[in-house]
Symmetry: C2
Subunit: 311 residues, 2 copies
């Protein structure tokens, strides 16, 4: 069902699900009659905001960490993302009892630093430039032999992320449209692959802030357009699309729907209250995007992935 | 399968599950290889600590609130419990758009007050005695016509609580021992009824702090023994067993296992870390009790209900 050149499908997602099952949770599915009424469509929410380490990122991170050979694992894992991916990777490494090295800009927020430290990450601070992060990570990798784990441009990460939509469709098989936020594209590409592998057709949409619309631009241009100076408050969605996610998204995603930060802020508050759980700003983007697009989705049953709850 | 005189069984639990489904979540099931190793048995955890309003209490509260006729509902609901039950009742009432009155002792902790206020409860403070709580609640009921909702001595509450074990056994059908904490007994009695209604035999144990051991005393005496001056830190488990829960527990529960507060504190910390989520002190009692009883449970597959996460 997946396009040519995409090396993962149902079998790889199921294999990833088996690897991560002992370390993660099957997150709940929730409904809100009040939100359905306000949007005029039926929404079902997959609460990855209640996932271990507070985000879907734990799926990919556990998949990589628990797929390493003992020899590789002993040398540890390494990343220079400072958000949910780093915390998820640190947690997975801690469960396997191996080191996790995280390179962070020295101006990273204390929340992000603490989120990694609580899972025992070894943090190296560097100057707040991409060049400094990459060179520091490279030196650290040379000296430790740790496996570098990219937050999204990695098929193992994408297969891990895909387990979320697969679980969602198992539990609510009659969803006909899945919506996930898109930053680097790991979650969206995994979602699209799982949707394409489902028993009946399910469309996949990405949702993106207007102020970080590289996926939308890329779809329009038919080639990957880099993100330039994003100004959105959705800090999880500021990164540019990765090469591997783009291979999937360009073939399997029907539409990138855009959301303003103002409506996202509104829906973050509504969702937190209605679903009674912490919802990250980035996680409210799909609902704000659906609201803007609601004239074209009447009568559909929409599955929305709430990607994280670290607020 | 349930004993004579117990008015709820599989059909009533399923009916309750249908009533509450739109308002609650199917909470995740989690494993911890590290905890299994330390206890020498296989444990599976039902994470009601991730339930809406942070505890299993939402199940019973939603069952009552969404079973009221429109006429009854319009007059609101009322309780004088100040813990998780009150918050859960307030949340359910808020979702139905009806008032929830809560009588609280004027020395109630600000956490408990805030937990109710965030769901719009109308709080009346009274002197910190049981007599004052009951008389204040009675007056309020007279003046408002609200339906009084007992936190555990009510078959609708018990049927609601039972949906948790029913869901748990649906997802992990080969559990052979279910363990739930026991305070007033709503969760434990519901769990025992669901276990008795399962396709194959599942034993049910209650877990109780040594310093609030009225269920253990009651089982030994063969009659309901009231709790006298409990000193446990497990504030959710200080109440005496209710009459209806006792009818069930005395017939269907195999054993009350006891836990020290010291070991409960240890396990609260371990569980929070291993399962990566907030765990109430009361919710760690079953694991501490199983640790003390572990010589008699080797080789069994044990399902543990983590009752709440409001810390």
């Amino acid at each position: 069902m997946t396009g040519e050149g995409i090396p993962i499908g149902a079998a790889e997602i199921d294999a990833a699900a088996r690897v991560i099952a002992p370390h993660l949770r099957r997150t709940p599915v929730a409904h809100s009659p009040a939100i359905n009424e306000r949007l005029g469509v039926e929404c079902v929410f997959k609460m990855e905001n209640l996932q271990a380490a507070g985000a879907f990122k734990s799926r990919g991170a556990c998949h990589v960490v628990f797929s390493l050979s003992d020899e590789e694992a002993a040398r540890g894992v390494l990343t220079h993302s400072s958000g949910n991916h780093a915390a998820a990777l640190a947690r997975a490494a801690q469960r396997r009892g191996i080191p996790c090295y995280v390179v962070m800009p020295k101006n990273a927020s204390s929340v992000k630093v603490d989120n990694c430290r609580r899972y025992g990450a070894k943090i190296t601070f560097c100057e707040p430039t991409l060049a400094a992060r990459e060179s520091t990570a490279h030196e650290l990798q040379q000296s430790t032999g740790a496996t570098f784990v990219h937050p999204y441009d990695d098929w193992r990460i994408i297969a891990g992320a895909a387990t979320c939509a697969r679980e969602f469709l198992e539990e609510v098989p009659d969803i006909d449209l899945l919506v996930a936020p898109v930053g680097g594209g790991g979650l969206l590409s995994g979602t699209a692959i799982a949707a394409a592998a489902h028993a009946h057709p399910v469309a996949t949409w990405g949702a993106e802030p207007v102020a970080a619309d590289d996926a939308w631009q890329s779809m329009r241009a038919g080639r990957r357009v880099a993100q330039w100076a994003p100004t959105t408050a959705a800090d999880g969605l500021r990164t540019s699309l990765g090469e591997r996610p783009w291979q999937v998204i360009s073939r399997l995603v029907a539409r990138i729907a855009l959301a303003s930060d103002a409506r996202t802020a509104h829906w973050q508050e509504q969702l937190s209250r209605e679903l009674d759980a912490p919802i990250e700003f980035s996680s409210a983007v799909p609902v704000a995007a659906l609201e803007a697009a609601r004239s074209s989705i009447q009568g559909r049953r929409i599955g929305i992935i709430l990607s994280g709850g670290n607020v």
